[in-house]
Each structure stands twice: as C-alpha cells, then as structure tokens.
C-alpha cells in the first residue's frame, strides 16, 4: 500500500518534507508581512507601523550593543536580565510553595480539611486585580512584581499537584507503610520524588501566565525590564523596537519551555516510559 504524504488519516509526512511543512506557516507569515510593509513604505517612507526587516535589525542591534545615553547600559541585556530575574524568583517561589502545599494537603486529611475551601477561594481571585493592592502594600519596587508572579502561579501549581497526589493509587501508600515508612517518609521519600516531574511540567505550563503578569506589572511601574521597554517605546510608536522585543520574549519563553521539557526527560526517565 502506498502511504500518502500529506492527505488523509494515514499520512506520514517525514524527513525534509515534514520540515518543509513545519516551516510553511512561518514563511507565509513573513511573506505577508513583507508585502504589507513594502506597500505601506511605498506610500509613506516614514511609516512606523510596519517597519522593514532591515530597520528592525538596526534597532535591535543598537539596543544590544550601544550603551544607553542616559544609563550607560546595553538596554536589551539589562532589560532581559531584570525581567528574567523577576520571573525566576516569582515562579521559583510559586513552584516551591505550590509543591509543599499541594503535597501536604493531599496527603494529610487534617490539612486538607483545613485548607481546601480557603485555597479554592484564593485561587479564584484574578491576580491582576491584586496588582494595585500589591503596589500599595509593597511599594513600586521589585517585591510587588515578584509577588504578582508568585500569586499568579502558586495556586495553579498547588491545586494541580494536590489533585495529582490524590490520583496516586491508594495501594501505594499502604504498600509504603507495610515497607516500614513513617507518615513523613511516605510524604517526602515516596510521594515527593514521584511528583517532581509533574511539578516541572506544571511549572512549564504556568510560565505563559507568569510572563503575562510580569509584562503587565512592568508596563505599569518599573524602571527597566522587557515589558517596561515595550511600554515606554510604545509612546513613540517605535514598532521597530517593539516587534523584535516581542520576538525576543517569545524566543526566551520557547527556550525555557524546551529546557524544562529536557529536564524532565533527563532527570526522570521513568516518567514518560509507559505513558506513550
């Protein structure tokens, strides 16, 4: 039987053809942009809305290599560093606290009874509505921004891990007890190692939301950061900076996602085996 390459249920687009198929939508997007940009620039060479690729390249090289006149920093790098720092601290704290809360409330019925309604209540508050409160409480410095990311991620992570632990077969806990595990050993030596890959996966999925909170907080109040820069140059309609910045953020997000996926595969080889 001949397997079709593109159409139907049994198609197997592989090799170079598969690569070509994957690149096609990107190529189309770039071509459409170029046509639109050329058309606008032909009418008005000073048009700022759809800058040409060379224009954007100039702008981003300038941001990356020329010290800023006012602060003397290489803006692209100092912005990236500031943003990633906030993101890592916020998401890291969210993952750590989420892990501990999710794990312990799932294992110990007493803690579960005490925390369930409260955690559900907290998790339903839209984090962005807390932003003004955070700015008032913690000032406009780093704490408020990190707190927003923390609040935006911690409940998702703790609830997901809580449910995941509850789904582990009850037999496993009994089994561990019959092997001599204490309550704490069951929690931290049997269950904790089993949910680590899930923690990384959940964290990976919350990164999208974390970026949202980061950019939002930076646009409202900051002195550096990727979101701050985009918000700042928006006033001058500097699309030649905004578009590369958006692409850069996307690339960073993509890299983080890839690294976390790699970490799960490398550190926890047992996690995927048997599920595929």
């Amino acid at each position: 039987m001949k397997t079709p390459k593109l159409f139907g249920l049994h198609a197997k687009p592989g090799g170079w053809f598969g690569f070509f198929l994957a690149s096609l939508p990107f190529l189309l997007l770039i071509i459409v942009y170029m046509i639109a940009s050329d058309a606008r620039l032909a009418i008005n060479p000073n048009d700022k809305v759809l800058p040409s690729f060379s224009h954007m390249a100039d702008a981003i090289v300038r941001m990356a290599t020329k010290p800023d006149r006012r602060s003397g920093d290489l803006l692209l790098w100092s912005d990236t560093f500031a943003s990633l720092r906030r993101l890592f601290i916020g998401v890291g704290a969210g993952a750590l606290v989420g892990l501990m809360v999710g794990l312990n409330t799932a294992i110990f019925p007493g803690l579960r009874a005490m925390s369930r309604s409260f955690l559900t209540f907290l998790s339903i508050i839209p984090p962005l509505t807390l932003l003004p409160i955070l700015f008032i409480a913690f000032g406009v410095g780093e704490t408020a921004k990190v707190m927003l990311i923390f609040i935006g991620t911690v409940f998702v992570i703790s609830r997901d891990l809580h449910l995941y632990v509850l789904q582990l077969p009850k037999e496993q806990i009994t089994k561990a007890l019959t092997l001599g595990a204490s309550d704490l050993a069951v929690t931290y030596r049997i269950v904790l190692p089993q949910i680590m890959p899930r923690l990384i996966e959940t964290t990976r999925l919350t990164l999208g939301g974390a970026w949202l909170f980061l950019i939002a907080a930076e646009m409202i109040s900051a002195t550096e950061g990727l979101g701050y820069r985009i918000g700042l140059v928006r006033r001058y309609l500097a699309m030649d900076v905004i578009i590369p910045y958006v692409l850069w953020i996307t690339l960073l997000g993509f890299l983080l996602d890839w690294l976390l996926r790699l970490a799960v595969a490398r550190l926890y080889p047992w996690y995927r085996t048997g599920k595929e």
Partner: protein
Amino acid sequence: MNGEQIRDGLRKSSLLHIEDVYKRYGSKTILDDIDLSVASGEFVTLVGPSGCGKSTLLRLVIGQEAPCGGSILMEGEPLGPPTPERGVVYQNYSLFPHLTSIENVTLSRRLALQPWQWHSRKKTILEEGMHYLEKVSMADHAQKFPAQLSGGQRQRVAIAQALIQKSRILCMDEPFSALDPGTRESLQMFLLELWEETKMTFFFVTHDLEEAVYLGTRLIALSQYYTDDRNPEAPRGAKIVVDRKFGPSDHAVSPSVKSTAEFASAVQEIRKQAFDPHYLQHVTSFDLSHPMSWVTHNAGEVAGEQPVQPGPGR
C-alpha cells in the same frame, strides 16, 4: 471441648485471628460475620465470586481499612494501621514507578535508615537486594524501571520486594491474575518453592479456583450465595462457606496433581458450593472441615443454635 473454649484458645495461639468481623459500605453489607483463625506457616488461599469481598477482607487484614464490627488480632494483639509485619503484593501498583527493580526491592531496608546512614550501609543492602532479585530470576533487570518490565517480571520483583522485609504474613491480592497461563504456572511453582523454603504464612486471594486448590494448604471460599433462618429478603453479606485442608501442610505438591480425578472433583464441588448462585447451602451445613475452623452465628441466623460451633472436622 466446646466451641467457646476452642475459640478462646485460638484467639491466643493463632497467628491471625478474625472474630465476628463485619464490613459495610454505606447500607450494603459486604462481609457478614467472618470468623477465621490462621496458624503460622499456612498457605491460605481465598476464593469467591467476583465482588464478594475478597479484596475487602485482605484490606482489613493489612489494616488499610478498619472493620465495622468485630476484632482482628495478630498474635493476640489488635491490629492497627499497616506495618511491616504484614506484607502485601497487589495485582498492580506494588512497585513504585520512580524506582528501579533493585531500588524497589531494597526500599524497606532504606526506609529503615536515615538518609545520611545510607552511604555506609549501601554495599550490604545492595548485595542483599541482588540476592533476592536472583532468587526471583530478575538479577539481569536490576536497573530497569517497572514500566520497562513485563507483567510477570513486575510481579517477580514485587514478590522479592515483599519477601526481603520478612513479614509475619504475606498477603497477596490476585498477584498472578493479569498474567498469561505459562508465566502464571511458573510463578505458582516459584511461590510454592519459596513457601517451602521460608515457612512463611501466605494469605493468597484469587478468583481462579484451580489456582486456589493447587496452591493452598487451606482453601477458604467466601460467598454471598447461601441461606439461613433470617428473613429471606434481608440483605446478606458474604460468609466463609468452605474451609478445607488440602495437600500436605509442609511441602509443595507437583503440578501433576492438577490432572488427577480428585483435584477435578474438589474443584467441581467447591465451584458448586461457592460460585453457583442457585445452590444455596444453609449456614449450618457449610463445608468447614478444616481443623482450625470455627464459627459463631449471629442473631436470628440459626434458630435456637448454641452460639459457637466448632468445625465438624474436630
């Protein structure tokens, strides 16, 4: 001797003593006044129709759940939550997915240590673990995770994992039920060899009657298909309807017994007594011929009976 004296003696002398045990889920009675004493070294097999409460009884014995009435004693002491003196092997989930075979087998040893003691004891513990893996012919798979093993291999490792802790009684819930006939037979042989060698007490749940008759020195059938003097409409839970001695009590028999006429007729008989919904024996005429067997009857079950009946085998 009257029944009460026998029961009181067994309460102290038997390894596992189950007395007047009930289990209900909601309004549904699953186990209806179970009485059972198990001596050390017995290979007890427990059979019964699907859903009759075999796993429930096993969970009570391990301590995963508590009975709604009655008492369960282990060497004369009331049972608490699960402890290492009662080991367990399940049909699934006995192995921890994040640990390799050798890590699974040595887990009970490692749990007995604080993490910082591990380094100095590592060598002896791993050697012991490998010894047990060799025993179950799984030494070549020591570094594999459970997901990388076949069902039969997983059960071998699970048995090694439970054996290493040297519990007083090893409970198994249909450990071979998901295996193909060949693997299953070889694991049955293997389990009998182990039992002969270690003199451990096994409590083995299965829904396969032939497996139960072949493996056990004592066969217990649990069934909800019986009658008594209670209102016929009254809801009933399962009772022990068969308690019989099989084979020699100290050494295993060869699988060739399976083709004898005696074996076939025993299987036929128990199938009728425990698995046939239309064959209802009265509570006073159960086949409780095992020498350790004794029963009490609860109110109304038997009109005008003495409270404790020794097994007819006595």
